[in-house]
Amino acid sequence: MSRTLAQKVWDAHVVRRADGEPDLLYIDLHLLHEVTSPQAFDGLRLAGRKVRRTDLTIATEDHNTPTDNLLTIADPVSRTQIETLRGNCAEFGVKLHPLGDPQQGVVHVMGPQQGLTQPGMTIVCGDSHTSTHGAFGALAFGIGTSEVEHVLATQTLPQALPKQMAVTVTGELPPGVSAKDLILALITQEGTGGGRGYVVEYRGPAIEKLSMEGRMTVSNMSIEWGAKAGLIAPDETTFAWLKGRNFAPKGSDWDDAVAYWRTLPTDADAVFDKEVFLDASALTPFVTWGTNPGQGASLDAVIPDPESFASESERAAARRAVEYMDLTPGTPLRDLAVDVVFVGSCTNGRLEDLRTAADVLRGRKVADGVRMLVVPGSAAVRAQAEEEGLHEVFTEAGAEWRFAGCSMCLGMNPDTLKPGQRSASTSNRNFEGRQGKGGRTHLVSPAVAAATAVTGHLSAPADLYAVGAR
């Protein structure tokens, strides 16, 4: 029977199937971080259980860690969470990349960079952006703390197969338009609940052309429109990216693996429960104006009139968002002045993202009164960027070059917005208070972030050339 990529991965992991019960799925890789794991470990301890497969489990520290130093976690609550993870990993024999370790970083950057994330795998983590790993053709999704405990104890999860959706992106992205613009535009088109109940597969020529970094950006934000997971078929780009990484198969194992991975893409006549289309060639730099990732618009647009939306619930949400974001309908998005620019997170904190931002900043300065933070997604990304001299570009421009972590993606560590501050952020959530109480977030691509830092208001790189010509 014809099957989708997700179905093939699913079927290959069914440990037990019984009528009227969810399938018992085997989990190939379990990623842990400090926030959602403490009660799970405590549950194991209470029941006298151990971690079934420490060799398929790996932990990192990211949400609570500071990015201005590697030694001191000032907040005692944050410090306790980190120390608890360290204690649990030591006690249960789980490998951990602590603050200061060369592989430490945001969990969804750390896994792929080591080659831990591979096509055809099932991957879970107590974190909703686990969808990131779908970019490799893995079935990857976020789970809750009780499920974390379940996977630690059994290396399996009872799961019912979700519905399948195909997102076909036709055409070619215009120059200066990136994977981030693509996914922001898709979420605005489909709404934040558009993917609920589905495992999504992104495909089509525009997806195939994306680098692995770009694919990870797209898969990462699957959860922002409600999808359980977001997969992309493995291909030559995937294999080339993986080859030679620490945990990638070696020698004849590599050949066996690639031969298997080539069988994974969706069969030509497989049927999806739903299909969605997007034309990449019509896209422009895209940003959010509101307080959910579905409230976005082309950078060329103006703040919409809340009364212009079709449904009352959308109108109400837009009214609230416009008020919280302190916006006036009709204002061009380009006129919005920002206080802070954040480049980083598991959405856009990889090497390619930093290169893009550096290319825009090279030879330019961050505008007066604007604070720009550049936060590599992992210590390894930071090291690579320094090898290429990117850090010099950033510091010469007046940006802050930070250590790896979640940083300003969420207000759990010292990097936060002050009440009323407006940011252009390459992260994934523009929720009220996400970057700090009272903070106002506009989600943008790395290129738009860097151009915005230069002008001090929302801008695309093309705007800078226009300025230069004047």
């Binding site: 403490p38 060799d55 831990l116 591979q118 104890a153």
Partner: protein, 195 residues
């Protein structure tokens, strides 16, 4: 999870309705990193009042909570169940529960019995007249017995079986451990090893 068949214990009469999970355990206790030790958070705001029923030493050692209707509504926090368990309760009896709380409780071995309001009133009276009254909660027969009276209660067969076997989700899955081990024997050689 401990197996639950028949439990006999004394009870605390909590003559209040609409006790939401914020009352059972306030949000400040959610910052913790442990799964145990939540007993100090249980009804912590109310326990500051010396006349609150849990502060009455005649009810020390009680393991059955007799609550009014709509017990455990509101936030989904699993901590509410942890707090009741940690305090030493094994059974709650109430006319009606918040859905999520009830689901959480039955997953974690806290038996939440639904009895009609009149039955709960009778139990309140019995316990207030004599705090040493033994309440017998029989899951096998699906019956509560006290003071020479008895009341039948409903509980889904699957949930009852799970409680009687002492199986949490993990316990249930581990019944298929052989299948898991067999599956592990067939994983491809190139499956990652963190090492």
């Amino acid at each position: 999870m401990e197996k639950f068949t028949v439990h006999t214990g004394t009870a605390v009469p909590l003559r209040r309705s609409n006790v939401d999970t914020d009352q059972i355990i306030p949000a400040v206790y959610l910052k913790r990193v442990t799964r145990t030790g939540f007993e100090d958070g249980l009804f912590s705001a109310w326990r500051e009042d010396p006349s609150f029923v849990l502060n009455n030493p005649v009810y020390d050692g009680a393991s059955v909570l007799l609550a009014g209707p709509e017990f455990g509504t509101g936030s989904s926090r699993e901590h509410a169940v942890w707090a009741l368990n940690d305090y030493g309760f094994r059974v709650v009896i109430s006319p009606r529960y918040g859905d999520i709380f009830r689901g959480n409780s039955l997953k974690q071995g806290l038996l939440t019995v639904e009895l009609p309001q009149a039955a709960v009133e009778t139990l309140w009276d019995l316990v207030e007249a004599d705090p040493a009254t033994a309440i017998e909660v029989d899951l096998v027969a699906r019956e509560v017995r006290a003071g020479g009276q008895s009341w039948a209660f409903d509980l889904d067969d699957f949930l009852r079986w799970r409680l009687m076997e002492g199986l949490d989700d993990i316990g249930l899955t581990l019944r298929h451990e052989e299948a898991i081990t067999a599956f592990e024997g067939h994983r491809p050689a190139f499956g990652v090893l963190v090492g």
